[in-house]
């Protein structure tokens, strides 16, 4: 019963989405509000149907309805309650239903918030949203139906991929997909701007907070993905330049470029064409990311599956790219710049450079990701591109971007005078240089780490300088200290929200640098009672135990850890043996600290439990990456607050 009901709902939703997209576009073109109203009803119904279908699939998971193929392949009777819910989006079909549901949600929010405010652009934007929804619904009805029936009905299911049995699996996909789908809204408005020819600032103003929201969720998704990789995969890292990580990173890079280039258009009427192109690029890259994960054309640890879905996604990607770039070419004349670049030493050029570097980084990541295909197509040989390529190319770009992060917000518009430069940068440059020198004196011998230290302190100093100066100005106007600072944050929330996000990025940069430069690891095979040491820790192997859990057998080693400036603790890294998997899954045990994490992974062991191999890592400063994420969250929230101007 459930399969037919669910599939029926999705089919009706597809019909409605197509109808809505058509009527919204027709209503926009002929200026007939009745048509747009019909499209709105369709949009609301699509969202309602998607919600019901999603609830139905969740119910099928909770009720172990193995007559649904998707339920049978991604759960079994032993799957705990919590993971039966997250299992809903643990594989291809469910991830697309979650994706569509979010898109539907965004469409409804757009409808509620912008129906009245943007009469010209709104109907077109609604049409684009519904067209994208129709695409995802067509994937769900034809290529990857979540409600496909399984017959005969098995008594038990196969079970969820054990790596996905983790709390990160509720937050990571949700944040990532909110980011991915969120960029559909700016894209929809960009297309609306091109369709109507109103390519001025209106669409930018309407989408500013949408872009920040999407960007924020994408950042959060990437960070949670790193956290998941760090504490679940058991190799002690958080980023591997895997094609699928790259797929999520590329729209982040172009999206970041967009958030910055928008300010140039607002202020100087430049870069209209560029902004539209960046939004098209960002949205296309989110589609490219889904395509890459779901087409099986590139080998990756994340690869979902292959089959007809890939062809669907590629066709849609081609349609999106060709139509939107075609519109762009059609409106070419209207997109010309009104302002001009006055000087190389100016805020405009700092932002422009920021854009060039971000897009260059996105391009190199794209190139590295698809290079295996290029090489095979051109020369008939296969290659794989490893982390060294991405690091070598991107680290200099990222360091340059950090530098610009300090320059951009403070340097003068149009043309910076010598006095302006001295006033804004003399102190920060001094502080950065002193920090690097101090670091050198304290024993930092990695040139890259010293440079990163210099740059991050430089940028932090520019932010501190700006904030102190602005606070002082308010104090002189007779305000008290705390209200003055609070007022700054509240009344200039865009600027200071941006600064707080920058601080978050700086903290992340510090964490990444530290973990790359100073982490150490070793591996040792120990008899019971034997000890190994690393980085001031002594780790004693006390024995092995095992226990049968609801859906797997867990073997864990007990290790007593001393040293590292704290009381002895017991750590228990484990291995989990799932019947449906050919190799065991690592259960990492880690002790998190501000300065360093102690990270144990259980390797091979003898059957009698007398001997085990353990991998020990001391990962330094990794925690700051997650702290940086929290700071970034605060900054994004601040930037998203409704703008408020003080009454005169």
């Amino acid at each position: 019963m459930i399969p037919e009901l669910g599939q029926g709902m999705l089919l009706v939703a597809l019909g409605l989405a197509l109808w809505g997209a058509g009527t919204a576009a027709a209503g926009a073109a002929t200026r007939r509000p009745a048509l747009v109203a019909s499209a709105q009803h369709a949009a609301l119904s699509v969202f309602a149907l998607l919600t019901l279908a999603f609830a139905l699939l969740t119910y099928a998971f909770l009720a172990f309805d193995f007559s649904v193929r998707y339920v049978a392949t991604n759960t079994n009777l032993g799957t705990p309650f919590y993971y039966r819910i997250t299992g809903v989006w643990g594989a291809l079909e469910g991830s697309i239903i979650l994706w569509s549901w979010m898109l539907g949600l965004y469409t409804v929010i757009l409808l509620v918030r912008q129906r009245e405010r943007a009469r010209e652009l709104y109907p077109w934007a609604l049409a684009v949203m519904l067209a994208v929804l129709a695409f995802f619904l067509s994937v769900m009805t034809i290529a990857a139906p979540p409600f496909a029936r399984l017959s005969p009905v098995p008594v038990n299911g196969r079970g969820l991929n054990p790596l996905l049995e983790d709390t990160g699996m509720i937050t990571h996909p949700i944040a990532l997909y909110l980011g991915f789908t969120g960029f559909t809204v700016p894209f929809a408005f960009a297309v609306a701007a091109l369709a109507t020819g109103r390519v001025g600032d209106a669409w930018l103003g309407l989408t500013r907070r949408w872009s920040i929201t999407a960007w924020y969720f994408l950042s959060l998704g990437l960070l949670i993905g790193g956290w998941w990789s760090y504490h679940v995969l058991g190799w002690g890292g958080y980023w591997a330049w895997d094609p699928v990580e790259n797929a999520a990173f590329m729209p982040w890079l172009t999206g970041t470029a967009f958030l910055h280039s928008v300010m140039i258009q607002e202020r100087r009427r430049m870069l209209k064409l560029w902004n539209v192109a960046l939004v098209i690029l960002t949205f296309s890259l989110t589609l490219f990311g889904t395509f890459l994960t779901r087409s099986g054309i590139i080998a990756s640890v994340h690869a979902f599956t292959q089959g007809a879905v890939g062809v669907f996604f590629l066709t849609f990607l081609a349609l999106v790219v060709l139509v939107s770039l075609g519109l762009l070419a059609w409106r070419w004349d209207a997109l010309g710049a009104q302002g001009e670049l006055d000087s190389v030493v100016s805020r405009e050029s700092a932002f422009l450079l920021n854009n060039v570097f971000l897009v260059a980084a996105a391009f190199t990541v794209f190139f590295g990701t698809v290079f295996p295909l290029v090489s095979e197509a051109a020369r008939g040989v296969k290659v794989s591109v490893g982390a060294p390529f991405f690091n070598q190319v991107n680290v200099p770009l990222f360091l340059a971007l950090v530098f610009l992060m300090g320059v951009g917000p403070l340097i003068a518009w149009r043309r910076a005078s010598r006095e302006n430069l001295r006033r804004n940068f003399l102190w920060p440059v001094t502080v950065g240089t002193v920090a690097a020198a101090a670091g050198w004196a304290l024993g930092i011998r990695s040139a890259l780490a010293a440079l990163a230290l210099a740059l991050t302190t430089f940028v932090a100093a520019t932010i501190a300088l700006d904030f102190t100066r602005a606070t002082r100005a308010r104090l002189r106007a007779g305000e008290r200290l705390l209200p003055a600072m609070g007022g700054l944050l509240r009344f200039h929330n865009r600027r200071y929200g941006g600064f707080v996000v920058h601080l978050g990025i700086l903290v992340i940069v510090a964490g990444v640098t530290g973990s790359q430069a100073w982490s150490v690891q070793t591996e040792a095979t120990l008899q019971v009672g034997e000890t190994t040491g690393l980085g001031g820790y002594r780790i004693r192997f006390d024995g092995l135990d095992s226990r049968e859990e609801s859906n797997h057998v867990r073997v864990w080693g007990t290790f007593t850890v001393t040293g590292g400036g704290s009381r002895p603790t017991v750590m228990q890294p484990s291995k989990k043996f799932y019947p449906q998997e050919t190799s065991p899954i690592a259960g990492v045990d880690y002790r998190v600290g501000l300065v360093e994490d102690l990270y144990l992974v259980l390797g091979d062991f003898t059957r009698d439990g007398r001997q085990a191999t353990v991998k020990v890592q001391v990962n330094r400063l990794v925690t700051w990456i997650w702290i940086g994420g929290a700071v970034l969250t605060l900054g994004a929230a601040l930037a998203l607050l409704p703008e408020r101007r003080r009454m005169a």
């Binding site: 190799w235 590629l314 081609a318 698809v370 295996p372 197509a377 690891q521 591996e523 991998k615």
Partner: protein, 178 residues
């Protein structure tokens, strides 16, 4: 002229899309090698533990030539114990395992060898010449060389115990040279 040129923007996306479409025709995990059946390119390389090792000196033995790097995670980490076990199990039967470390730093390579307690000879191809001679695409890749010095098989990705024993036994079953 400018008005026409702008249509190059959408057109420029076509090759990229074509490339992605081409991706459907390929299997990212299967890699053919024109070297199979050809004589294995000779080399002489310094090892991490002492004397240099030369392929020519091993004629008459089955050679398992494995290219690896310490950053190659997880495949190289999965296969290192397999190679070590294979080396221990087959060395009595004239089978030699040689590791060739590429694109790596010396201390990380040494740490890798120590971590996995590798006892078979590991050489460093610092200039990358040997990797180029063998047409390497990435790591790990493993070449199984027969007793006449010809490449009998190539394996891409982590070597499993099964692949190791199948290939080595197949080459051992061939008649010895001369």
């Amino acid at each position: 002229v400018r008005r026409r040129l702008r249509w190059l923007i959408p057109i420029s996306a076509v090759p990229v899309l074509g490339l992605l479409a081409y991706g459907f025709r390929t299997d990212p995990r299967s890699i053919p090698s024109p070297l199979v059946g050809q004589p294995a390119p000779g080399f002489s390389l310094p090892t991490f533990t002492g004397p240099p090792i030369a392929l020519e000196a091993l004629r008459g033995k089955v050679v398992v030539l494995n290219f690896w790097a310490s950053w190659c995670h997880p495949a190289c980490y999965e296969e290192a114990p397999v190679l070590e076990q294979g080396w221990r199990a087959w060395r009595e039967r004239d089978v030699v395992v040689i590791g060739v470390n590429i694109q790596d730093t010396e201390d990380k390579a040494r740490a890798f060898i120590a971590d996995f307690q590798l006892t078979f000879p590991n050489a460093s191809d610092a200039s990358g010449k040997v990797a180029i001679d063998y047409g390497l695409y990435g790591v790990p890749e493993t070449f199984f060389i027969d007793r006449r010095g010809r490449i009998g098989a190539k394996h891409v990705g982590a070597v499993t115990a099964e692949v190791f024993s199948t290939q080595v036994e197949r080459l051992l079953a061939e008649p010895p040279p001369g």
